[in-house]
């Protein structure tokens, strides 16, 4: 780099910044996405389940949040969801609901 002229280096810096912004899908590198990846194993990518496990896709954030809270408290009976939801804090439940509620 020491042999390059300053104008070229400035150009590089601008390019570097543009490139830094472009390749990431907004929101995909977030706690919401990270937490929701755990849901997608059983409920399918973006909540589209191909089988007997209920889809989350198309549900809004409030519905998803309430379902998770009720599974956690036991108000809503389940086979496995109660066991899962006890592993998430209230804040994490909100992050998951907001993320999955926006997926198409």
């Amino acid at each position: 780099m020491k042999n390059l002229d300053p104008i070229f280096c400035a150009g590089l810096a601008i390019l570097s910044h543009a490139a830094l912004m472009s390749p990431l899908h907004a929101g995909e590198l977030s706690r919401g996405a990270m937490l929701s990846a755990s849901c997608e194993g059983c409920h399918g990518t973006d909540g589209h389940s191909p089988g007997s496990i209920p889809s989350i896709a198309g549900k809004n954030a409030d519905y998803i949040k309430l379902a998770m809270q009720d599974f956690r408290s036991g108000v809503r009976k389940s086979t496995v969801m109660g066991r899962h939801m006890k592993g998430y804090t209230e804040e994490e439940i909100v992050l998951i609901a907001e993320y999955l509620g926006q997926r198409k």
Partner: protein, 429 residues
């Protein structure tokens, strides 16, 4: 190799040349960490998940998946194939969606060497791939010969069927050809091994088949352990569905097998005479898949120690190891756990290559087992990174309740099939 991957392949091989001809771009990539080439070895639950989620998180990253086989046959549900509930097609998945829908370059070849210094891998087909980050997800290989007499040749007569495919077919055929009143021996290994509940689900679904086709037959499980995953639930299910058919011999009762004789079709337990089986499913001791060892990534026990936040190897920087090959205790060596690790690893790599901070990792495991076609049980866990490593969140997870209703087991059996369809579609479609 198709047109797309050949183009990328040549591009990678000549990356060093490009540095001098197009001054700036390689320097830029180096300085800004804005894009990158990620090579993933192994297209199973871990590697294929990592590939798909990397392309989803950061489409700018160039992802190449190196997988030996044109189709992947899953171990999950291979026990249901052995029990006659499904055929091999049901557990076979292709790579078209990863390549065409998610922009992953899939190279059907085997990695034969890793040069961690030059950051490139060698392929059996003669080529090389250069990487900025390498993900090694090779699954398991067997410690052939660690039990006297059990080598690769013996596995043709006494199949392990612990990698699904032709071994599954051999074992299924042997069960079909076995006479009524025959003895099936299943030998289960010590921990750690791939799929802790697997041998016991296998005993269950073989029992289901035998009960219908050869009801006078018996299953003996010789175990190198004194307890196993979901044990009370399995034992309760066996008593309910297959009374008297399955006998479990634990390690302290002489369950460990010291030697086998594949020609005589006998296993040699610790305190007993050689036992003859009509069908013998010998599940041998395991280690990380061979390429991990070749790359120098394994510890004295044959597994790969990693930073459990990012799955970066403790041996070589910029190389990550996920799935069964990695030490991620208390996560089990399960396909579902491997997939979760693949997603965490994808997040770590995308963060690193884009110069951003990685969100706090979250890991999960959900494993269903079928005791019978209408009798399912499950185990679940949610994990977080703690100071000492991955730890289960206290108060969460655990196994299905004991003494539940028939309807509950039926629901879980239905969800077992749904779980399989979901996890495989989350990875391969």
């Amino acid at each position: 190799m198709n047109h797309l991957s050949r183009r990328k392949f040549v591009g990678m091989a000549s990356a060093a040349g490009a540095a001098s001809s197009v001054l700036g771009w390689p320097v830029l990539a180096q300085a800004g960490k804005t894009s990158g080439r990620v090579v993933i070895i192994g297209g199973g639950f871990g590697g294929a998940s990592c590939a798909k989620y990397l392309s989803r998180i950061a489409p700018g990253i160039d992802v190449t998946l190196v997988e030996r086989d044109s189709k992947f046959i899953t171990c999950p549900f291979s026990n249901a194939v052995l029990g006659g509930l499904y055929d091999m097609d049901f557990i076979t998945h292709g790579y078209d969606a990863l390549q065409n829908k998610h922009g992953v370059t899939v190279v059907h070849d085997s990695a034969t060497d890793v040069d961690a210094g030059a950051k490139k891998i060698k392929l059996a087909g003669g080529g090389e791939l250069v990487y900025d980050r390498l993900v090694v997800s090779p699954g398991i290989d067997f410690k052939w010969g660690s039990v006297a007499g059990y080598d690769e040749a013996a596995s043709e007569m006494m199949p392990h069927a612990w990698k699904a495919g032709s071994q599954t077919t051999i074992l299924r055929r042997q069960l079909e050809q076995m006479p009524d009143g025959g003895v099936v021996i299943i030998a289960a290994p010590k921990n750690p091994f791939r799929c802790p509940p697997g041998p016991y689900e296998r005993a269950s679904l073989i029992a289901h088949y035998l009960q219908q086709a050869k009801p006078k037959s018996k299953i003996l499980i010789y175990d190198a352990k004194n307890k196993f995953s979901k044990q009370p639930l399995f034992e309760q299910g066996w008593a309910a569905l297959y009374p008297g058919m399955i006998e479990w011999i634990k390690e302290s009762d002489g369950g460990a097998i010291e030697a086998v004789d594949a020609k005589a079709m006998t296993v040699h337990p610790t305190f007993d005479d050689p036992q003859k089986g009509d069908v013998i499913n010998f599940i041998p001791p395991q280690k990380a898949g061979n390429i991990a060892e070749v790359a120098g990534l394994t510890n004295a026990d044959g597994w790969c120690t990693v930073d459990q936040r990012t799955f970066e190897s403790r041996v070589h920087s910029d190389i990550h190891v996920i799935g069964d090959a990695a030490v991620a205790t208390p996560m089990p060596k399960s396909g579902f756990a491997a997939s979760s690790q693949g997603k965490v690893c994808a997040t770590a790599i995308a963060a690193s290559l884009s110069g951003q901070e990685m969100p706090e990792p979250s890991y999960v495991n959900t494993c269903y087992s079928l005791v019978g076609p209408a009798y399912g049980i499950s185990i679940a866990a949610v994990y977080r990174m703690q100071k000492e490593g991955i730890a289960g969140v206290k108060g969460a997870g655990g196994v299905s309740p004991k003494d539940e209703s028939e309807a509950f087991r039926q629901d879980e059996a239905r969800y077992t099939v749904g779980w399989y369809k979901s996890i495989t579609s989350d990875i391969w479609s």
